[in-house]
């Protein structure tokens, strides 16, 4: 399990989990589960296109993520966020299905893009992901307090900070960046499980926001490690275990809050 060829996989997955756990805290606080699902899934055709053109996958993902942020935030003005997310998702996946069909390949790499692929990670990939992650975490740290305030009470944030429209942009941009980092590893369909599951559980164990953030990151890292170990042992797809461990996190959080309510009442 810790053979040399697995070292890069462990490193990469850990970095991805750190970033996903951190952004997941804000996804849960802002109730943005659908955009957090729509951006990665909508970006997957970008990676498919990139692999057809022979360009770096991260570039393709980044282009489609940027488009996604633009379309969602534009549609969001005249429309509700969930409908905007659904429309972008459908549009982008339609482009994806055309790409796949015209190229005539349904390669294993596409399956990996959807459901995750941790093996065969190169050193260059680890380095580029590490650089992007530091950037994402840095921006998040810079805007953590205003973002949190805006998530909890938009009116209060508007009163204290003035223009808050910028914050939604920053949030979507960081969501997009996380997507670019995470999709090649955990797959487009399951990136957001890694954001939502651990963060929703962490919230149930503490009332303090920064502790919840730390808990979210810790649970996310634990989920990814568990998922890789189980995938290695069973030889089943890593996506299965990411999904199940995310659900387990959420259920434990629900049980814990239910227990706390019962004790208090």
């Amino acid at each position: 399990m810790f053979a040399p060829f697995m070292v890069h996989a462990w490193l990469l997955a850990t970095i991805v989990a750190l970033v996903s756990g951190a952004i997941g805290f804000f996804v849960v606080a802002r109730r943005a589960a659908f955009p957090a699902h729509a951006l990665p899934l909508g970006a997957f055709p970008g990676a498919a296109a990139a692999s057809l053109l022979g360009v770096n996958q991260l570039l393709g993902l980044a282009v489609f993520c940027a488009l996604g942020v633009l379309v969602i935030s534009q549609l969001q003005r005249g429309e509700r966020r969930e409908v905007a997310s659904a429309l972008w998702l459908a549009l982008s996946l339609a482009a994806g299905v055309l790409l796949l069909s015209l190229s005539g390949v349904y390669a294993q790499s596409i399956n990996g893009l959807l459901f995750g692929q941790v093996l065969g990670v190169s050193r260059e990939q680890v380095v580029s992901v590490a650089v992007l992650s530091v950037g994402a975490l840095g921006v998040l740290a810079l805007f953590a307090r205003p973002l949190l305030l805006d998530s909890l009470s938009g009116e209060l944030a508007a009163a204290a900070l003035g223009r808050t429209g910028r914050l939604e942009w920053i949030f979507l941009a960081m969501l997009a960046l996380t997507t670019v980092i995470a999709v090649p590893v955990v797959g487009a369909l399951l990136v957001f499980t890694l954001m939502v599951g651990p963060a929703s559980a962490a919230r149930a164990f503490t009332n303090r926001p920064w502790r919840a953030l730390a808990g979210s990151v810790a649970l996310s890292v634990a989920s990814v490690w568990g998922a890789i170990a189980l995938a290695y042992l069973t030889n089943w797809p890593v996506g299965l275990f990411v999904g199940l461990l995310g659900a387990a996190c959420y259920v434990s959080g629900r049980l814990r809050s239910a227990g706390a309510v019962a004790q208090a009442g």
Binding site: A86, A90, A94, V97, V196, G197, L240, L244
Partner: protein
């Protein structure tokens, strides 16, 4: 291009095309009716999640050699009932719960598709389940699909008024002695019927387009709920049949390889949405907006 289709004799007598037109029409009609309620009740994410999760049922059906429609349907209905039940206590948690169920369901899909690829004899199951392939639908599915569509339409008609009331004013509905729970549970099951038909048509992860797109477009234009239903049905039907016709034509554009039906259907739906959005903005005062609720209000 479209004009040449009816004059092309191959189109109407072609068995796969007729099957696709029938199943597509059923899916479009049911999705229009259920989709309007879904958008008004702000359940776009739940509808999308059900469709995604139904892919686990679809891939299991390929593995076991069952009717794929029944696979989609079984999984979607089971998850719909479970989500509706778990939802009971905390409505604010709905998005998170939906997300987590979605994640676990997709994990299961990953496993089943892996089994399909390694053990099953079906190649390309992943592509068919996730993105649909209308021209390969077996003719034996038609009676099942029509029965499912009929059941969904009848159920929607029965709960139409109470559901509308509970969507727009839940307290009022409760005060009138409506059994809101029974109504929402029935709606959850009709939602499952709708997404499984849509998954059969455009594939599990594109089903959202058929469910949400026509309804969102119609709700921007219509001033009365019934008007919205009719408009959504027309848009859905037009996009589905138009998509099938264009895909049939596309065999002549790139010789030997047709473009996917799902692509055309989704693009046509998106164009319809943009047009209706543009028309609604041009009309200035958004008189239909009351149907819709407002974000953040």
């Amino acid at each position: 291009m479209l004009m040449s289709v009816p004059s092309n004799p191959g189109f109407w007598v072609n068995e796969p095309v007729r099957v696709a037109l029938t199943v597509g029409a059923g899916a479009a009609l049911v999705c229009a009716v259920v989709g309007c309620a879904t958008v008004m009740r702000r359940q776009a994410f739940a509808g999308h999640a059900l469709a995604d999760v139904s892919s686990a049922g679809g891939s299991a059906a390929y593995l076991l050699g069952l009717n794929p429609l029944l696979g989609f349907l079984g999984m979607a209905a089971a998850v719909a009932v479970v989500m509706e039940w778990a939802d009971m206590r905390e409505v604010r948690e709905r998005d998170l719960l939906t997300g987590v169920v979605l994640g676990a369901g997709l994990g299961l899909t990953a496993l089943l598709l892996y089994f399909d690829a390694t053990m099953g004899s079906v190649s390309g199951a992943a592509m068919t389940v996730l993105f649909g392939s209308m021209f390969t639908i077996p003719a034996t599915i038609v009676p099942v699909a029509l029965a499912v569509a009929g059941a969904a339409l009848v159920a929607s008609a029965i709960i139409y008024r109470p559901l509308l009331l509970s969507a727009l004013a839940a307290d009022l509905a409760r005060a009138q002695g409506l059994r809101v729970r029974a109504v929402t549970l029935t709606h959850a099951v009709t939602l499952a019927l709708a997404v499984s038909l849509a998954a059969m048509t455009v594939g599990a992860i594109l089903a959202t387009a058929l469910l949400i797109g026509p309804a969102a477009a119609a709700l921007r234009l219509a001033r009365r709920p019934f008007e919205a239903l009719v408009l959504a049905a027309l848009i859905g039907l037009g996009a589905t049949w138009g998509g099938i016709a264009l895909a049939y034509e596309s065999f002549y554009w790139t010789p030997g390889r047709g473009w996917p039906v799902s692509f055309f259907i989704v693009i046509l739906i998106f164009v319809a949405y943009l047009l209706s959005s543009w028309a609604a903005t041009r009309r200035g005062a958004r008189r239909g907006a009351a149907l819709y609720g407002c974000e953040g209000a």
